[in-house]
């Protein structure tokens, strides 16, 4: 990494690639709903990636923030009459607050004990949601979640009832959060997170109080994941109990790992491939998760930096070959 070089703007490079993907997806995929689902899970994977890829924290708590965001957005819309943006804001705050709570206790331990604590919190949150069925609908899920129209300063911009309109809204949210995440990564805070991932002892020795940094990483991750959960509830008009299950945490982690930890585009790629794989295979074969298992094993064994890492090395090889070819052509021209 060359830090002396003038840093690329957070609006160029991979941001443009993400923008291209966001524009092309609804055109190439069979439905806008599928594309929306991909972007929502890409957001959840993005939040997870901040913890796993950049800070080195394997958190099984992501379902708490996802499910928590979904419930809070739904409940504030149903009972308090919150609008679209208000509900999303409430979900973000809820996700961040839940993450602060989980983070505060879990980061007191490191390694395997940290992982176990996040697992325990997810189990607790699940049974809490199951028990509070008056609020969450329990096993049946929270029904009749509205999708309010998008209004800004009293003007209705879109009613978001068509799947393409909602996709456009989610896509704008995704791009805003994507740029925000890049800002975070290339900030003093983000570079310190990488230092903590690389060598926590040294990070502390040069003066960083590492627990404060881990906690803020949790809060930001929770806020993003909470927004993803809220958007998911609005997409389905329904907040199922499975949002807050351990399986949801696993899915988010698998998307993050398969896509590639430590790269934001990887999260989009990971979410895209898993959601599409599920969509394609679940109708043909109910045991399609077996294939997911095989895919995960293959990626971990043969592509340690994930699908995005694979794509990157292909691009690199192609560039090398091209520059090699042009050099050869230049030499031949010289010889003549």
């Amino acid at each position: 990494m060359n830090t002396s070089k003038k840093q690329a703007s957070i609006f160029s490079g991979v941001t443009l690639a993400a923008l291209a993907a966001v524009v092309l997806m609804p055109l190439l995929l069979p439905s806008a709903t599928l594309a929306t689902e991909i972007l929502i899970f890409a957001l959840a994977a993005l939040g997870c990636n901040l913890l796993l890829g950049y800070t080195g924290l394997l958190s099984f708590g992501q379902a708490i923030f996802f499910g928590g965001g979904a419930y809070v957005a739904s409940l504030t819309m149903i009972h308090l009459g919150f609008g679209l943006l208000g509900a999303l804001f409430a979900a973000m705050i809820a996700g961040a607050a839940l993450a602060a709570l989980v983070g505060l206790l879990a980061i007191r331990r490191t390694g395997i004990y940290f992982v176990m604590l996040t697992l325990a919190f997810t189990q607790m949150a699940y049974f809490l949601a199951y028990t509070l069925s008056d609020w969450t609908g329990g096993d049946n899920g929270l029904l009749d979640v509205p999708r309010p129209p998008l209004t800004l300063f009293g003007f209705e911009i879109s009613d978001l009832t068509s799947s393409y309109a909602f996709y456009t809204f989610v896509a704008v949210m995704f791009m805003l959060i994507f740029v925000f995440a890049r800002r975070v990564i290339h900030s003093p805070f983000g570079t310190t997170l990488v230092a903590i991932r690389e060598n926590e002892g040294r990070a502390s020795a040069v003066g960083f109080s590492t627990n404060h940094f881990k906690l803020l990483a949790f809060v930001i991750s929770g806020g993003i994941t909470g927004i993803a959960g809220a958007l998911y509830a609005m997409l389905l008009n329904f907040a199922p109990l499975s949002n807050i299950e351990l399986l949801m945490s696993e899915n988010i982690l698998i998307m993050t790992i398969i896509g590639g930890t430590g790269s934001l585009l990887g999260s989009l790629l990971g979410a895209g491939s898993i959601v599409m794989l599920g969509d394609l295979l679940s109708s043909v074969w109910p045991r399609w998760m077996i294939i997911l298992g095989i895919a995960l094993i293959a990626v971990v064994l043969f592509m340690p930096s994930g699908l995005w890492g694979g794509v990157e090395s292909l691009i690199k090889r192609w560039k090398e070959r091209r520059s090699g070819a042009s050099e050869k052509a230049a030499k031949e021209a010289e010889a003549k």
Partner: protein, 251 residues
């Protein structure tokens, strides 16, 4: 301003019945290179860990620049003006040499580095500091190499360089030549004596040639206590020191 930058007062650390540190009164004068030596198990590393904040002493006090920081956690001592290197090289292996140093410079900001809303290159003072240290430790030509790809000798130099980035008043170096080849040791010796001009340096070291050539003061430790303290010539000639190293304790 006191003559001494660091003072310990009856510093002790017990593990059950075993006293790793008995009662140590160490005074480090401003602007000197002060070396702590002693045979294995003398308590040098325990003393070092108490000074850096890794271990909490069970008795006694540590005063830095007149302030009591006996109970201050390790990371806070950096902003007080104290900085350390590790005996076992501890770098950010997958980051470039320059980024290693830049992060170390950023460390002095403490919680200020929680800022996530602006670019890390926006405030260039940390980068400037990194480049200044790069020049000083003569690794500028390797600025963009990953720290993990450096030779062992270069990694040891970078290890010391990391502790320079926070503009410390006191440098604590834990066996800077640990594991270094004979050819690299003169480089380290020169670097430390250079640093001694701008900083107070306290180091633990085994390489006697280096110790005798650069130290202003030497403290010899033995069985958790200070045996003697003096200038290199005094220590070199002392009978008790010879005995301690030959293992004739108690006779």
């Amino acid at each position: 301003m006191s003559d001494y930058i660091l003072e310990t007062e009856q510093l002790g650390l017990r593990y059950g019945a075993f006293a790793a540190l008995g009662s140590v009164d160490l005074k480090i004068r401003r602007g000197t290179i002060h070396t702590v030596i002693g045979p294995n198990g003398a308590g040098k590393t325990t003393l070092f860990h108490c000074l850096t904040g890794e271990r909490r002493p069970s008795s006694g006090k540590i005063r830095f620049d007149g302030k009591d920081l006996t109970r201050q956690p390790a990371h806070k001592r950096v902003s007080s003006g104290m900085s350390r290197s590790f005996q076992i090289t501890s770098l950010f292996q997958n980051l470039s040499v320059r980024e290693n140093l830049r992060l170390a410079a950023q460390g002095r900001d403490g919680l200020g580095a929680l800022a996530f809303w602006y670019s890390d290159t926006h405030r260039s003072k940390h980068l400037e500091k990194a480049d200044e240290v790069l020049d000083r430790i003569k690794l500028t030509h390797l600025a963009n190499t990953d720290a993990g790809d450096l030779s062992h000798g270069q990694q040891r130099v970078l290890e010391v360089g990391m502790s320079l980035c926070s503009d410390p008043e006191l440098l604590l170096l834990d066996e800077p030549t640990s594991g270094m080849g004979v050819d690299d040791i003169p480089v380290m010796t020169k670097l430390i004596s250079e640093l001694g001009k701008d900083h107070t340096v306290m180091l633990i070291e085994h390489n006697m040639k280096l110790v005798m050539s650069i130290s202003d003061r030497i403290t010899v430790m033995h069985q958790g206590n200070i045996l003697i303290e003096g200038e290199p010539e005094e220590v070199r000639g002392d009978e008790r020191v010879k005995k301690a190293y030959l293992g004739e304790s108690g006779s």
